[in-house]
Symmetry: C2
């Protein structure tokens, strides 16, 4: 939802045209995750469909401006005043992967763990190598360094978790958390008319 909501929040400052919105989004997020232009127009159409924006004037340059609606402004206010709540839907891809890998018999967890640690460490070092905060960079530099810090903190946490996991695995016989497929499952099954279609 962050792209959609961010574009809406930018439009709450005043009418913009599509390409301009991309520019505004990019500089406000330090050009960290540049947006494909096409996505702007898709998102605008979806926001229009939902009654949050409407098509506005075309200026002397041919720029097609978009305006926020009252419902849109209300939505922006709601977004800004309520925190992002990490619900169940926020599956961490690395965590899920390693949990599945760790519980599957015959999988070399420590190899997967090591590969992930290497990658995460390289990622962290690459981030740390980028230019740190510099007050002379102005607001755009501030935005960039916010994003940078966020990614660094997240990468550090991921590394810490990976090391923590490695320690726990080292203290256990490494096969002890493998889970066989539960084949004894169908106690309360679903005997059906078409049972034994093949058997």
């Amino acid at each position: 939802m962050s792209v959609r909501q961010s574009l809406l929040a930018i439009l709450d400052q005043g009418p913009c045209y599509g390409y301009q919105l991309r520019h505004e989004f990019d500089r406000r997020t330090g050009s960290t995750w540049p947006l494909n232009v096409g996505q702007i127009y898709n998102t605008l159409e979806r926001l229009e469909r939902d009654g949050l924006v409407r098509r506005g004037d075309v200026d002397e340059h041919g720029h097609a401006y978009w305006q926020i609606t009252d419902a849109g402004s209300t939505e922006v206010a709601r977004w800004l005043s309520s925190p992002v709540v990490r619900t169940q839907a926020t599956r961490d891809e690395v965590a899920v992967k390693l949990a599945v890998a760790a519980t599957l018999p015959g999988v070399d967890v420590s190899a997967a763990l090591q590969a992930q640690r290497d990658a995460s460490l390289r990622q962290l070092q690459a981030l740390q190598k980028t230019a740190p905060a510099d007050d002379s960079d102005g607001a755009e530099g501030f935005a960039r360094s916010m994003m940078r810090d966020s990614m660094i903190f997240a990468a550090e946490a991921e590394l810490r978790w990976l090391d923590h996991l490695a320690n726990r695995l080292a203290r256990h016989p490494h096969h002890s958390m493998a889970l066989e497929l539960a084949t004894e499952r169908p106690k309360r099954g679903r005997p059906s008319a078409r049972a034994a279609v093949i058997a």
Copy 2:
């Protein structure tokens, strides 16, 4: 991709039927993010479409088993041996939101920040209140505590970042990073035949 890939990796251990797959996924991720059953069948059909699984036998209970294909096994091996790489697509919703909020004039960033900090702290405390690792819980308990640790580390990192951000904002005049809409943009515009349709 984690659901899709996880189901495929489980199928690499042997044929399963749909409901069984949900059970296997849930116990391997500590029932942290229970899966809607329907998603299993959707995902299986998509994997079948991609040639990674195929429909297998129906047993005497009427269970419709699914089998992994050679291409599927290859894909699992690739997945397990290569790390998750956090590409540009990994937008952190909280970071994007606060960066946009911080760069929009007239937005009370510190209020949004405070609201987020409260929510994140409550989230962390809720996580810490859950049962910690207990070796007597077996492999399923281990999986659950892996997920729990992962979420705790991530929540701590988010809190640290929020506090770091609050400190930086406090040291600055809080309006200094607001970015006006760049209205002087169209220097190299796109004058068109239909310019001034409205103007």
